[in-house]
């Protein structure tokens, strides 16, 4: 059985599940961010796979580019917020951060 669309979709499903698991179970805010990056990557694999197997449609590639742009903006903002949290709390454990301001 040669490699078809389903192989790519299953790969991205596994990557998506791993990312969601990191978001749910990890304590460190940066680990949560890494999980988010895994989720976005799996979505991108789906876009590109559908673009190829749907007759090399370029729209899927454009969607993937916008996902990458959003991921870059999200990572920059989220890390700035995480650094601010670290200055106030001296840790970045998401389950212990329960105040918006001092």
């Amino acid at each position: 059985m040669s490699i078809g669309l389903n192989h790519y979709l299953i790969l991205s499903a596994i990557l998506f599940s791993l990312g969601i698991f990191a978001v749910i179970s990890r304590k460190n805010a940066i680990m949560v961010l890494m999980g988010l990056e895994l989720v976005l990557n799996s979505a991108n694999i789906n876009f590109i796979a559908f673009a190829k197997f749907g007759g090399m449609n370029i729209d899927g590639h454009i969607a993937a580019i916008f996902v990458i742009i959003l991921a870059a903006a999200e990572a920059a903002i989220a890390l700035a917020i995480v650094l601010n949290i670290y200055q106030n709390y001296k840790h970045v454990n998401v389950d212990e951060i329960d105040k918006l301001k001092e």
């Binding site: 790519y8 990557l15 990312g19 990191a22 749910i24 179970s25 916008f66 920059a76 700035a80």
Partner: protein, 166 residues
């Protein structure tokens, strides 16, 4: 097994194994470096899917930008010399419930993907996609393209403003 199959399984094993290390490793630095291999594997999958421009973008933005940013974040928020590198989980119960719901989610996704009969067009020979992407960005997708540039400017100003030491 022809060459495409071998290359696909090679990258798939790299992606799944390194993503598992990212998710399950106790040491956050191992997670950050393992993320590098995940991104490389995904770039390889893009090349396999004839998406040359996206693959290069993945290498430049994810590995050159986001990963470096994440490693900076790790270094600035953990004490490298102490035991603080170890990051825990939110709790045993949450770990179990999270793992269970993740397995259910992944199983459902794989079942849905397998049971759907997707539309498949006959494969067309392709050359470089850069020209088509460029033409498409400046015609059909001009407004989202400009909006994305404004978004990136806002993100840059916002990140500098938020992270500034008071």
């Amino acid at each position: 097994m022809n060459l495409v199959d071998i290359v696909f399984y090679f990258f798939a094993v790299i992606i799944v194994a390194s993503a598992a290390v990212v998710v399950l490793s106790k040491n956050i630095m191992y997670s950050a470096f393992s993320l590098l291999f995940t991104f490389f594997g995904v770039a390889g999958i893009y090349v396999l899917l004839n998406a040359d421009f996206i693959a290069v973008t993945q290498l430049m933005i994810y590995i050159g930008g986001i990963l470096v940013l994440i490693i900076f974040g790790v270094m600035l928020t953990t004490k490298i010399t102490g035991l603080e590198m170890k990051t825990g989980i939110t709790g045993k119960a949450q770990y179990a419930i999270g793992g269970l719901s993740t397995l259910v989610l992944g199983g459902t996704l794989i079942y849905v993907f397998n049971s759907t009969s997707w539309f498949k067009s006959p494969s067309v020979p392709t050359t470089s996609t850069v020209e088509a992407i460029g033409a498409s960005l400046l015609t059909n997708y001009l407004l989202p393209f400009e909006a994305a540039s404004v978004l990136l400017l806002l993100a840059m100003i916002g990140a500098a403003l938020i992270a500034r030491r008071k």
